[in-house]
């Protein structure tokens, strides 16, 4: 199982801030593909992924227990 975190527009599109996903093995890109299929109305073009609170490339391995966050373009400050 992995822990997914949604923010801003994606949180609103998904209707939730977090959810858990059954998971054995795969990459950040696999998680992204799952999200694209699950939330087809949301545009993931500019979204970056973070695994365990660090930005990652899409080939980053994702293991059970990991936290995967979808990071839309930030606008703090």
């Amino acid at each position: 199982m992995i822990h997914l975190h949604y923010f801003a527009g994606l949180k609103e599109a998904a209707g939730k801030a977090e959810e858990d996903l059954s998971w054995q093995d795969g990459t950040a890109d696999d998680v992204l593909q799952w999200a694209k299929q699950t939330y087809p109305a949301f545009d993931f073009t500019a979204v970056q992924l973070a695994v365990n609170e660090e930005y990652v490339h899409l080939d980053e391995p994702v293991k059970p227990g990991d936290h995967v966050a979808f990071i839309p373009p930030v606008s703090g400050g």
Partner: protein, 152 residues
């Protein structure tokens, strides 16, 4: 402040610059700069009613601390503290405070400006503008260079 100040903090409560300026002040400092990002009423001819900020708090605090580390490396002798508020903010409320001390003033200005630029690039915090007739999550300004000067 009776309680210990957290130098890289994301918080729901109102924030102010003073305790962060004090926190970075020390006998080796000759200059302390503070930046406070405040909620502006009018942007591009649209009137903001209020703002909502949301953050991925643990990662945001980690990224703020990384910015602090980068500054201490780039500008030796500097000290840094950064706090960002989340939740609903009214006009003129402070959204972010950056305090930097340095032996000399040039570094204190440069490092402070570096911090806000990095925050706008890498720290997972999002702003939603609430207007009279709608609302919108504001995306990364670096994707809209023609609007760069209009977005604080």
């Amino acid at each position: 402040m009776g309680t210990e100040l957290k130098p890289f903090h994301v918080t729901e409560g109102p924030i102010e610059a003073a305790p962060y300026m004090e926190y970075v002040t020390h006998p080796g400092a000759g200059a302390v700069t503070a930046f406070a990002g405040t909620v502006r009423e009018w942007t591009n001819g649209k009137r903001t009613m209020y703002l909502k900020y949301e953050a991925y708090v643990p990662m945001a605090e980690k990224k703020l601390a990384q910015i602090g580390d980068e500054i201490m490396e780039k500008w030796p002798g500097s000290r840094v503290a950064i706090v960002h508020r989340v939740g609903e903010l009214a006009i003129s409320d402070i959204a972010v405070v950056i305090a930097v001390s340095s032996p000399h003033r040039k570094a204190a200005y440069e490092a402070n400006e570096y911090a806000i630029e990095q925050i706008k690039k890498v720290v997972p915090i999002w702003k939603k503008e609430m207007w009279e007739d709608g609302e919108e999550w504001i995306g990364d300004q670096s994707y809209k260079p023609e609007k760069e000067s209009e977005n604080e």
